[in-house]
Symmetry: C3
Subunit: 389 residues, 3 copies
């Protein structure tokens, strides 16, 4: 990786007020990112994850998950290659015995050099971890005792942390830059690729071939101490029901009797550091929250979740059943499966950054431009190759 030029500087300049977004090819630093579901990390278990190009080692100790960099200070080897955990709280490098405490990152011993002056004076990078709604979030950034991370609530969409909401989901690796994931999700026109979705058999909805925002559809949310995002209200969209070529109708978006609405959802919103909220989707009363977590500049972890309001154990069981039988196979796998290949075939055009200037956006893409500008303004910092050293 080119230390100096991860991103073509001419392209950054050319795009003007969203240059920061172009620079954030490996993601925005100093934000919270979900990396696993809580149930995937049992007590005492070690898990390896990659976020913003950094490889992390997670371990659950006495119920709480801790995260440190998976790279020994001494010779840079991954501790995970052969994890030597002689005590519950520590991991010892298999190569020369450098031993780190999970909770603090502190170098607590070098087994073969017990009197080294390094002991107690050096730390491996450790990452703040929080668990919420069944997800494990890590904060990738620069923190210390004087600079704690901002609250998780500032980095998730409104409503995600609501007490009465039950969240279920899955995750998978997608071979595209994270921004192509975010833009694919927020893009109101891309409904065109979903026209054959099997989801149609499991719920009633209108499904235009496209819909475009009318004035007033888009709202920016930029309160100083809250999450930053762009809201697109589909109720203020103009739906298109028929596709016409050379005067002939060639494709029709089906309308369902007695169902109102201009789309499969009532609206979407996109939030820093790259998470989408889709209201009333994939089913009535549900909300889809999905993250595009940068793993490196070419890959993202697609963390897909569905939130459902629940008031009782029976509600929880009902939702869990429907999730497994309908929403996961026909929504997260089927419907979103089309999104995944769309992102992956878009990747080559943007891989050398020129796509950001060579693309030819059309009018409804103004919502995407708002997102690029907002992200450039409010992304807390940009991850660079120097952070990986």
């Amino acid at each position: 990786m080119d230390e100096q030029n991860l991103v073509n500087p001419d392209v950054v300049k050319a795009v003007g007020d969203w240059g920061g977004y172009v620079e954030a090819k490996m993601g925005f630093r100093n934000h919270w990112y979900p990396v696993r579901f809580s149930k995937e990390i049992d007590e005492g278990q070690i898990e390896i994850v990659k976020v913003l190009g950094e490889q992390l080692l997670l371990k659950r100790i006495d119920g709480k998950v801790y995260a440190i960099r998976d790279r020994c200070l001494h010779r840079g080897v991954p501790l995970s290659r052969k994890p030597d955990c002689y005590t519950k709280d520590t991991i010892t490098c298999w190569y020369h015995g450098y031993t780190y405490r999970f909770q603090t990152g502190e170098l607590v011993n070098i087994l073969a050099v017990p009197d080294s002056r390094l002991i107690g004076r050096r730390k491996i990078v450790s990452y703040p971890v929080e668990e919420a709604k069944g997800l494990v979030f890590v904060f990738v950034g620069d923190t210390d005792e004087d600079n704690p991370p901002p609250p998780l609530a500032q980095d998730v969409p409104p409503g995600f942390l609501d007490e009465d909401v039950m969240v279920l989901g899955k995750h998978r690796v997608v071979n595209s830059n994270w921004r192509l994931g975010a833009e694919n999700g927020f893009d109101s026109l891309h409904i065109f690729i979903h026209k054959d979705t099997t989801l149609r058999h499991y719920r009633h909805f209108n499904f235009p071939i496209g819909h475009t925002p009318l004035p007033g559809a888009v709202e920016l949310v930029q309160d100083a101490d809250g999450p930053k995002g762009v809201i697109d209200d589909f109720a203020q969209h103009h739906p298109v029901w028929e596709g016409v070529i050379d005067g002939r109708v060639v494709v029709r978006g089906p309308r369902t009797p007695n169902v109102s609405g201009t789309s499969a959802s009532v609206g979407t919103s996109i939030w820093l550091p790259g998470v989408l909220k889709v209201a009333e989707f994939p089913g009535p009363g549900l909300t889809q929250f999905e993250w595009y977590v940068p793993m490196d500049d070419k890959t993202h972890l697609y963390v897909q979740t569905i939130g459902c309001p629940v008031a009782s154990e029976e509600d929880r069981n009902t939702f869990a059943g429907e999730f497994e039988s309908v929403w996961k196979p026909h929504g997260l796998d089927g419907f979103n499966g089309d999104d995944i290949w769309a992102r992956e075939v878009t990747e080559p055009f943007y891989a050398d950054d020129f796509g950001w200037v060579d693309e030819m956006l059309c009018e409804p893409d103004v919502t995407i431009l708002e997102w690029r500008r907002l992200a450039s303004r409010h992304g807390r910092a940009i991850q660079t190759p120097a952070h990986l050293r």
Copy 2:
């Protein structure tokens, strides 16, 4: 790909009067190239080809083949990933409904944004297409209504378009730069690698271990309105029948009683933009025409054809039978199979361009130098990474 330096500029300078040839690593632009045989593209069928680094989408409509760039203007995705052809004349991008007319490249609609100002005002790149002698040629270059492409006849060897000639052939992808293909073919010394050809069992010919041009053998053809090429007349070559090491004959080129001639062919010629003509080869009365079509800087499409004069349907059937039973298996596959691996193992030496200055040519290679100079003078333009944006 490095936008600025596809080719090492020091090397371009060092080679002097054939610098243009070194620069043309991805081929010469503004020329006609064969990409498929006509019979490979049926009515209504779509075909994807790569030429000079550009990916094209071909479709035959009402008998005529049209070609457009296989990359949507909007987000740069390949239209071919999921071709949506709602009408005979158009293709609609599967992602957001941008719809293009094959005949003109015009953006005729955006299905979900029927009132977009882009419609009717933007074009995808379209390529002139001609069919001749059973081959589909595309013109990769810069044309418009005021600047039509030059006639195809300027980009094929003399005789190829003759009315009484029937042409059959095949094509395959070779993992070397196109120039190593052209030089392998035109190189009179490389007969050395063919000394064990099975073609020998199917025709009588003399087969020296090498032959080198005498003064007068080489002729340049540079008429303003005709094809540009270098002709090498083997009748004016000095054949070598015995290879000698340390005074001992170690290898002999067989001579056939009652057969005159210094080689398996009576002469070759090489023409812009990279096509070889081999006279009286692979059999008496036949002519081999073969193209080295740059697919990118590392790969070429080897389009191999044999032309045979025919006067009747019976002649056609006879040639078609011999082509399948002899000339294809023992010529295009067997004999030229050796050429293919020769090019592929030569590739690494030239891949970083230094091969052009580090090679150590010998006297007969003067014919190759003439070709490099002619190509540098008459190649209409050089394909660069900027053309791929």
Copy 3:
């Protein structure tokens, strides 16, 4: 490969007095390297090897091994692709008949151009070859009649050439830079990764979890006309028998009753151009000599040998039997197998050179720093991409 910047120049500057070692990413030039065992090259047989990025062709002729560059002067193709040896002493390029003498590299003929002015006036690179102790050594560097290579004895550890020593071994390709091999071997702390070695069942030895040099342990050998190396005497090391974390003993190195010594060996030494000597190892009375021969900047040939003093044919047979049944499977394969994966997982941290400044060495690593400095002072020359042209 970047002609100008194989190694990051900022890193070379930053490391100070061992910059030459950092620059020697492809190895030190003008040194002797073992590439095969003598028994692997029979009379008349051709063998291809890669050293310092150069591909060589070896052939044994009348008992003696000769080496030339495996790349034809004419068009840069590997002669080995289809070796045409018409006479015992020569090889003829399969492509155009350029013919070279193995003993001198001289271009003795071009079969098809017997009167070329190049004949007798050009040479392919040839390499001095010596055989010793069953190994074939080549000298990769700049020699001619006036500048013969230095004696082999200057490039092997003391004792290796001793007359009464019998040497057996094996070699394999390791996917790491050669320096990570050298440092892994010389590193006295890395005994930690061998704590479960099966070698323990075949000999009695003490096995601390680590041991660190006391003042006086390290000796530099830099005589003008002898091998240059660093000796580390384990008798002057402080062994650590117990690993402690948070006041608790978590791992113990076993001590064997009636066996003295602080390690499995009594000491190691590392010599230019990258060869380790391990005394009294893998068994009592034995010496392990192992080379880390740079194949290119990412790969080395790990040449593992064991020397045993022998006084009779019976001694030779005994050692040969023990080598096959114990030392090869449990030492070279088992014990050193752990070293190999350790080097390979260390490679990514150093691949972009930043590892040399980002590593965090501890006190005992001073021995490794001595080696880096000595290599920078006495390495005869640095192999660069320009040498590969």
